[in-house]
Amino acid sequence: MSDRLLVSTRKGLFEFTRSNAGRWAVSRVSFLGDAVSLSLHDRRTGVTYAGLGLGHYGVKLRRSRDGGASWDELAAPAFPPMPEGHEEKLPDGRPWPWRVEQIWALEAAPNGELWCGTVSGGLFVSRDQGDTFSLVRPLWDHPGRKNWFGGGADMPAIHSVCVHPTDPRTLAIGISCGGVWHSSDGGESWELSARGMRASYMPPDRTDDEGIQDPHRLVRCAASPERVWAQHHDGVFRSDDGGRSWSSIENVTPSVFGFAVAVHPRDPNTAWFVPAVKDETRVPVDAKVVVARTRDGGASFEILRAGLPQENAYDLTYRHALDVDESGERLAFGSTTGSLWLSENGGDSFTALSEHLPPVYAVRFA
């Protein structure tokens, strides 16, 4: 069980801690006033990372070795200088800058590697706990990368890095919009494989193009790593081969649209989603906040609403703002309107920990 929750918001990083009496409360606020796009606590090393997006001053990465009491500034992941005369354009002709716009994925691998996905499409890896990062060139230099485009952000963005729990050289990453890319050699080579995903926002002859799919979020089951769940722009998908091929799950209630997904760490058939109205309005269906849970691999879904607002609620949950702890019992999610809910029974019932936070970008058990 995890008793700590890191909540990254538009105006700072909020740490919630559970008391012995079972009450969750804010125990620390870091970076108050600054946008924190994502945070990560690596239990193996005890190191906590926070990715900041300072409106005027760019993307920053901070590291704490004392649980958030103090933070060091690291050199944030950054592209190498663009070669003189080199022009880089998105498929629509706009410039594609070699510039990190946002930290949008942070994952610690069992072999000590720290993976960082970014808005603008760069994947970076650190092997010294964030002291230095290097751009994963084989992916950046792959000709297929040039087909990516923005979805949710102006630039293509790597939002999910799924590291295989027992073979950390096996990686699957999710890109909006660029499909699902795989490496089985620690990032030295990459291939696109997202068979079965479909994109109805594209012209008919591009609908099945694997390289332009918009998975909003990918999560891999820790105990059954071949099982990967995706909340995609066009619905929910399930993979049983590590994310290479996908089956569409059509019957998610009350909607197949959303951003976030979490998978039970031991039961690959149990996953949670936070549905919303597809896709221009992006508010809860009927203004009721609910969580959709499957326990049978997507054959059926329950709508979980106990403890969640059921009228006039316009909370949207972003892709990183839902998490489950290692027990599979504690589930938390936050919203764009500053609400944060927690369940200690796998979603059967929720408690509002706050309804007054800044807009929540990411929620993560520490």
């Binding site: 001053y57 760019g58 500034e73 950054a78 510039r99």
Partner: protein, 89 residues
Amino acid sequence: MARVTFTKNLERHVACPSEDVPGATLRAVLDGYFERHPLVRSYVLDEQSELRRHVVLFVDGRQVAERKGFTQAVRGDSEVYVMQALSGG
């Protein structure tokens, strides 16, 4: 030596004291400052050495139009200000 001064707002994030820095061009002055205070560089310039979108430079009261390169000459008594652009606010 040109005097380099930063918006007070930046001090919240990184130490950036006003200092006199030698150099005949804006670029030389900025590089000289960043050599002394390496952390400040990434707050002002991005990884392509371009001025961040919402940062503006002034030399002797005039806004600098160059986003990169910074070839303009500065005098020994010039005042260089690194400010936030209101566009980012």
